[in-house]
Symmetry: C2
Subunit: 661 residues, 2 copies
């Protein structure tokens, strides 16, 4: 092991494994996770070349191979718990997505949730045994987050008892579904249902797209890969053009809505049934934000501990770059954020499970709040993690740019979370809609409960943006709960400002809709402040659960850094509202520097606690043993361009060029 | 042409071509640039497959082919002006870098600048005729920006009149030089010179690395490609390990420093000779920041004009997404920034040429200021452009993630500018060093001139951070020159705060060096504020040169938006220092929204004025004609995975899997 990184570990003030238990949710969880990791990483069937050395087609090929192996092994080991399947999968495909993902996480579950017993009979075993390989074809070239705009049609033909599916325009071609391009032979297609001349909105249809035996596209089907992307290079995201494709009436998923033989339409009992899934997926993404930052900070902090550069004091050896204040200022707030988001992920998962119990009992009362919270936190955490990964990459200097660092791959695999499952700005505006609605209810005298209850208080103690420094605030900036309070008040004020902006626009004679659009900047800011408050609050509350003194101490430092850094980055908000005075903001800048120094000896131990297996991290810079340079050299020698000493282009172009000059 | 985008163009309030002239520096420049573009784009020898569809090795191969063609054509057309060569090259390689770049922009110029007449005689024609293909091998695995730390040694052996070159450690292996891996047969190697037992620091040596005829590596040379990167996929960035490689004494570049036959060392006359090149390269990068943002905003704004989504008013057709306030708030400040940086690029180029005249006359007086300015502005503009490209990409929703948008390629080609030619944080600290030094000089009564002269004033009218709202500031927030003044005062205050932080650290007994490191966060902020002030100032001054009323009007709106957006983003600084009051900051938020509405009708025309040829932009989303969807479909069908209807992985893995389940 590299002596620098060994020394770092000796200096840690807390027990790393105990902290890992907290992150995993208990020692048994850690144990089981490590067992699953060992199952995959010791399995020679999953040995594979670094995808970065492969061509586009080879990457896809290798990923299909591993996916097929995985399905066999999961059944062999009888791993059935969704969380364990996810853990196993994330070791098989440490880079992220793979071609059969949508078969497993969308096609099969949709069948389970929306198929009638007859349909289950027809489709389930075929799907289970991979005779049917399915995907979920929703987004189109022209429409993503705004689902109502989808143009694909499914028109019922009573004469033949079939639906006729069509892509009526270029923009209606299904676009992006994973596994659609080459892997799947069936797709659940979301289309506008027409029957007896009426449109009944979006419904799901099981559409065979390739012959189950030859895998050739079926008549009327134009299907293929949509081409290279920023990342997701293992996945055949596809297009699907439907030209008068006929499927039996019984291929519409009819557990809820129905089309009868005579073409009459039966409505589903509730429109809120799909809310639960959206909330679930978005709360998963919050956890992904935490994991992406955990990986990135692990790489950057370990590398910063072994990299020596330049000089602080002349004549002395080059210091570890982790000793530079600017490096600490880049990385430690992100480290704190990784912890914050981990705890928010746990929190979201907990309330999701609590509320989904209620939903099963037909109680939808808490769903709107959870829906709003999950939308906003999905956007808030993915945006922060997205830019944070890049800060980590660039903090590794030139080597961060090499694929051997893994940071480019982490970024391109993660960045779509800002767009898919609800585009982030749209998500922020959804949350804002809930906040403004709640604000108005509170103003009308309703007593709000839940996380927005702070909007009640704001009606009592109204803070005016204009009142800066008029009433010196009584905030102890060194006290975390005091800072949580300040974040809360900031959120309350920004919600109020957004609501007032709408009000002003209305008074100028604008329509509701234009007033909303004309206040969208303020609305996004309000949601952002709301989410920021929730994160600080959840982190602070988590500390109460931590018994171990040493861990409590280091987590408290992280929480304080998270809160203070957020204030420093948004000091305008706090000053504008008179929540903090100028001297307090300056005091916070000084305290941040003290917190950085305090964290310095524990930095490596804090990333070690994320306990990310070297094979999962797959980063030369982030190796546990810190032996970076030798391994970077070894990695580079495997580059495809090094397959021959002399590349053919020399003989083809460079040598002949001389004769012509 | 797409009717939406045609309508946008009809609504423009100014003459687009006239604005293009301003950006190019005059109508003749525009004419010549277009001529060069047409030379390349109408030349069938440069027809090439989209590199995104090629393997790593094929991309390199294609790029070598085009580079070889380019060298022939440049001589055929007798294009010799460096700017015109650059324009030609940027059409041949619209994606950015190429394998022979360092031969042309580093090896050849270094020879011209640092070779003796005898060396020119030996090397120049061979290099000109590509018998010698050269690169510039400076950075090592263990050292980048901190050059003094380089470990490669060149030890003079008087017995044989040779230098013996060695890579004494793994970390000393040369790493990253473009064209080093496979293309070059010579390298200018930067090494620590040892003679007669003394180390004389870094010097440049011409080292043959491959046989000029067979291209096989020479004895003692271990050379190869460093492997796949985030981008730069056309370039064989390489490694070079030197094992007792002997070169004649005459291969050290000896125009300035020398080693005599007896081993005695002759110092170069000045240590500032290399400053000019660094300043030049960094000022070029400022222009690159502008171009990267110009490309990205062109794509995002044109696409936002043809993309329709969701609804603002129920029942009406889906609006262009450019009508959403949040979309405008993402894109228009970046559009303003692209203009701002274009003018700063012009400004840097102008003062560089003025000062390099002085340098040739032996007058180095303005060099420190220019050096500091170029370092800071390089960092400031690349950081802003770097994150701005990604904002543009994500503003295009899912399609921005497709390689067909070109935005991923723009990002990965641009992002290294934050690291190379001086890592950005290090650059900011270099600028800060100059600022703090100037501040101290002013404090000691010296009268500063040049751009830092504002530090004089700050000595007179001292603004105290604590004095928020005590003295209501007299600033007309609607007046650009008034805002320039406010930016200037912010810079002055942040420089002062950084200087005071150092002072406080010293008073606590820290060493100079630790005090500096302990104030690094403040120092970077001070540099950032200084650069921000320069950009606002240059933009504002540029308006004075614009005669055309309509163009003056729209550029004024952009300049105001740039300045106000910067204040809104950093409002804490302005409030903290009492430079603006809370109501003024709120007023600025309202004004920003008005400016967005004002710019809306001119948005497409403003990106059209960048006049980026479709073949150079290479973006399906950013096409001039706006026909996005048809062309996206056409592009996708060329994906390598679509070469066959059924991918072999189906027969290899998926079909056999069924039998095992």
């Amino acid at each position: 092991m590299n002596p620098d990184i060994r020394r770092e570990r000796q200096n840690a003030s807390f027990n790393v494994t105990e902290l890992t238990y907290i992150l995993d949710g208990g020692p048994e969880k850690t144990k089981r996770r490590r067992e699953i990791e060992s199952l995959v990483f010791s399995d020679p069937d999953f040995n594979a070349e670094d995808p970065n050395f492969l061509s586009y087609s080879e990457r896809y090929d290798q990923s299909v191979r591993k996916s097929a192996q995985m399905i066999l092994k999961l059944r062999e080991y009888a791993i059935a718990d969704p969380e364990e399947i996810h853990q196993y999968k994330s070791c098989v495909h440490p880079g992220g997505p793979s071609p059969l993902d949508l078969h497993l996480v969308m096609f099969l579950p949709t069948l389970l949730n929306q198929a009638t017993p007859e349909q289950m009979e027809r489709f389930f075993m075929l799907t289970w045994n991979l005779d049917i390989i399915g995907t979920y074809a929703q987004t189109e070239m022209g429409h993503g987050t705004h689902l109502r705009g989808l143009e694909t049609t499914a028109t019922f033909d009573p004469a033949t008892q079939e639906f006729v599916l069509n892509s009526p325009t270029v923009s209606s071609i299904k676009w992006w579904p994973g596994g659609l391009g080459k892997s799947s032979n069936h797709a659940i297609v979301i289309a506008q249902l027409y029957s007896l001349g009426n449109c009944h909105g979006l419904h799901a249809f099981i559409v065979p797209i390739r012959d189950m035996s030859t895998h050739q596209p079926l008549p009327g089907i134009v299907v293929g890969d949509i081409g290279p992307k920023f990342g997701f290079s293992e996945v055949d995201n596809g297009f699907l053009k439907l030209e008068n494709v006929r499927i039996p009436r019984e291929n519409m998923l009819m557990k809820y809505a129905k089309v009868e033989a005579d073409g009459s339409y039966v409505k589903p009992p509730s429109s809120k049934l799909t809310y639960g899934t959206m909330v679930f997926v978005r709360s998963i993404i919050v956890g992904e934000s935490a994991r992406a930052l955990a990986k990135s900070t692990t790489i950057a902090i370990r590398y910063s501990a072994v990299r020596h550069q330049s000089e602080i004091r002349p004549g002395e050896p080059e210091p570890q770059i982790l000793d530079y204040q600017t490096q600490q200022y880049k990385l430690f707030p992100l480290l704190a954020t990784a912890y914050a988001f981990s705890f928010v992920g746990q929190y979201m998962s907990k309330i999701y499970h609590r509320i989904s119990g209620d939903i099963n009992d037909g109680d939808f009362s808490e769903l709107p709040e959870l829906h709003a919270l999950s939308a906003g936190l999905k956007a808030f955490t993915t945006w922060v993690a997205n830019s944070g990964i890049e800060v980590c990459r660039m903090s590794c200097g030139g080597h961060g740019y090499s694929r051997s660092s893994a940071l480019p791959d982490i970024y391109v695999a993660f960045t779509p979370t800002c767009t898919y499952e609800g585009e982030n700005t749209v998500m922020m505006l959804q949350t804002a809609r809930y906040l403004v609605k709640s604000y108005r209810q509170a103003k009308e005298g309703q007593q709000l409960s839940g996380i927005v209850s702070y909007l009640n208080e704001s009606q009592n103690r109204r803070l005016q943006p204009q009142a800066v420094a008029a009433q010196p605030p009584v905030v102890d900036v060194n006290d975390l709960s005091s800072l949580v309070e300040v974040y809360k008040q900031r959120a309350a004020i920004l919600v109020e400002m957004a609501a007032k902006s709408i009000h002003q626009e209305l008074q100028r004679g604008k329509s509701q809709e234009d007033a909303w659009n004309g206040s969208a900047i303020e609305l996004v800011r309000a949601s952002d402040a709301h989410c920021h408050y929730v994160v600080v609050k959840v982190f602070s509350e988590k500390l109460g659960e931590v018994g171990d003194t040493a861990i409590h101490s280091v987590l408290s430092t992280l929480a304080l850094l998270y809160a203070m850094h957020g204030i420093a980055e948004n000091s305008g908000d706090f000053l504008l509202a008179g929540l903090l005075s100028a001297p307090q903001v300056l005091q916070i800048s000084v305290r941040i520097k003290e917190l950085l120094s305090q964290l310095r000896p524990n930095a490596v131990a804090l990333v070690d606690a994320f306990d990310i297996h070297d094979k999962k991290l797959n980063s030369v810079l982030g190796r546990f043993d810190g032996n970076v340079y030798e391994n970077m050299f070894e990695w580079a020698r495997r580059s495809p361009l090094n397959a021959t000493e002399v590349h053919e282009s020399f003989h083809k172009y460079l040598k002949p060029l001389r004769a012509k000059l």
